[in-house]
């Protein structure tokens, strides 16, 4: 960061480009009127950090190349990968199914985020709350004026599938639903994306990674995910315990939490569960909870 010759590619975040060169804002807006909302400083802050070039070009309806070319004129160096890096989150994996027949759900929660966005607020908290309540046979329908690529990518990581229906230039319906309970990508991709800071923090990390890895490998493809970071106080513990009640003995529960939930630990012992913990970043720990006797 800080050098003028910044290399950008399909996986560069829009926020990084804007930080490097504020002038890029107008260049990006010129690409598609849909990017005009980036002029709103609040939305810019919210969306740009979650959106990669690949996602943005999809929102703008252009190719990654077409998106990057004008930026090259501003002094950015184009990276080798103007296509997606294999294994990284991007359009191909996260686009969801577009145009196919919509899956059928027992119940659908509808959330129109257009008024929230035009008021300059972030709908993410509402959306995350809503998806937490989804059962196996229900879906969340987001009504928006553009395809919510960053959201699709975010929820994909949390184990939600999506299905997008473009009803016009300014009307997109996106359904989110719980994927089959298995989330095979999770152990592998999570391990790879392990925070580099945490890795370099010291010798203890070797043991830590190994202890985590052993269990993570054992339950590869057999993990359910649960993110309780946005839940108010007593709910994280209750939600985790309820999920554990439903957890089949052969599976593990991967929990994203703001801190180590110390009061949960005696409950886990009581219920015959074991756990591994790792710190992903400040204010983000992960717990892998599994039945003690399961080998």
């Amino acid at each position: 960061m800080g050098t003028t010759a910044m290399t950008i590619d399909a996986n560069t975040k829009i926020s990084a480009i804007l930080r490097e060169s504020p002038a890029a804002l107008e260049t990006i807006i010129a690409l598609s009127p849909r990017f005009a909302r980036l002029r709103n400083p609040v939305l810019r802050k919210l969306m740009a950090a979650r959106t990669t070039v690949a996602m943005a070009s999809r929102i703008g309806g252009c190719t990654v190349q077409a998106f990057l070319q004008p930026l090259a004129k501003l002094g950015f160096t184009l990276g080798e990968s103007t296509e997606l890096l294999p294994g990284r989150t991007g359009v191909k994996e996260t686009a969801g199914r577009v145009g196919e027949e919509a899956p059928e759900f027992h119940s659908v929660i509808e959330l129109d985020v257009r008024p929230i966005l035009s008021a300059g607020s972030d709908p993410l908290t509402d959306i995350l709350k809503a998806v937490q309540t989804l059962g196996n046979d229900s879906a969340l329908k987001i009504i928006n004026s553009f395809e919510p690529q960053p959201l699709i990518a975010l929820l994909e990581k949390k184990g939600f599938g999506s299905w997008t229906d473009r009803l016009g230039d300014h009307l997109v319906h996106t359904w989110f639903y719980k994927k089959e309970k298995t989330t095979p990508d999770i152990p592998a991709s999570h391990t790879r994306s392990a925070n580099p800071q945490a890795r370099s923090a010291g010798a203890s990390q070797t043991g830590e990674t190994a202890a985590w890895q052993a269990i993570s490998d054992r339950y590869a493809g057999k993990q359910q995910t649960l993110d309780v970071r946005d839940l108010p106080m007593p709910l994280p513990m209750l939600t985790i315990l309820e999920s554990l009640d439903r957890l089949p003995p052969t599976r593990a529960l991967l929990v994203d939490h703001k801190r180590i939930p110390v009061f949960l630990l005696p409950e886990l012992a009581e219920k015959g569960f074991d756990y591994r913990i790792r710190e992903v970043a400040e204010g983000h720990v992960q717990l892998l909870i599994f039945k003690k006797d399961a080998k």
Partner: protein, 430 residues
Amino acid sequence: MTADTKTKKSNTTYKVVLPFYLYAGLAFATATTLLFTSSDALRSHFFQPKLLAITHTMALGWGTMIILGASYQLLPVLTQRRLYSVKLAGLSFVLAALAIPLLVYAFYTFDLGWPAITGGSGVVLAVSCYLINVFGTVGKKENIHAVFCATAAGWLLLTTLTGLALIIDFTSPFLPKGALAYLPLHAHIGIAGWFLGLIVGVASRLIPMFLISKYTNERLLQTIFWLLNGGLLLFLLLFFGEAELAYYAFPIACLAVALALFGYYCYRCYHLRLRRRTDAPVRISLASVVMMLAPLFLLAAIITGSLAGSPDSRLVLVYGFFIFFGWITAIILGMTFKTLPFIVWNKTYHRRAAAAQPPNPKDLGSDQLFSVMILSWLAGLLIVLAGIGCRSHLLLRSGSAFLIATAFFYNLNIWKIIAHKPSDHERHHQ
């Protein structure tokens, strides 16, 4: 910022929290020892030097110190914000730790000159630091639990200010009605405003958490808040309006309804709990909720007695003794072992939880020590109460000996928890 400094930054509170627990344990031991050596004092009038010394060791050194320490840990959890200032928290400890012994010494020797005034001022300063910290941490739109804490902190400052005024009045009189007339004011706002307010506010969050109960009822808690604090304001109005004693039935009724509603709240939490087996510390904490009702009846009896002439001074002694050695001690004995092991566990295993297989936080203390402590406390409490009732020297002595044993087991257990070190196997991964 490296991962290392980040961890340090988010984990500094325990350093300031642990001294409060250690100090409180020692204060409890001191108070029970003083009770033993001055047990004769419990056979006469309540307003006398030795009892003042014991009461203040219990109220400040034991009750208030542990609540201050626990608040610094709990406020960030209740409000989901960082503690406003760790330095200010440390300063409040140093000030209170120096001032309380001075004040207690002054009462014990009844030297109400400079030791009492310096000690009293130190306590006021320590509480001011606490108040600033609470108000700095609590946001504008905060949940009812945090509002309870902030209001209670306000009452605490008022209590210590009146206390200081009383001390100054002893040496250079300035209060229109004389110091003794203001004693009920000092005592009631301290007990109901500070202790009761804070305990209701914090317990209404912790009890459902420890029972793993889904029950929440913000409106009920708001009603309790207004009844409690409204009742206290009404008491202040009556006090300064020099109302007839009979009118004090109204604030007592407010408090009684508030306590009954809080009892109902706890009952609902208990009823809707997910965890079928409750552990001993939670059972003791729940018992202390029921115990809150007894002082209220005693207070009503004292006032009725005053209306009929003068109340039996034993009633006042029982009231004071039961509040500090019964109710407040019960909740501290219970809650210490639901908070301290987790604070120490977090301190010890925060960095290595991932590498090693850390022990269950619950197992840092000793269950046996806990049980013996509760038994000797219960025995001590009942025997001393009986001793006050029949003015028996023998009962007072033996009862307070049981309470010394309670303090001994308490201290042993918290020292064991605080001194916890990871085993060789766990350290290996460090």
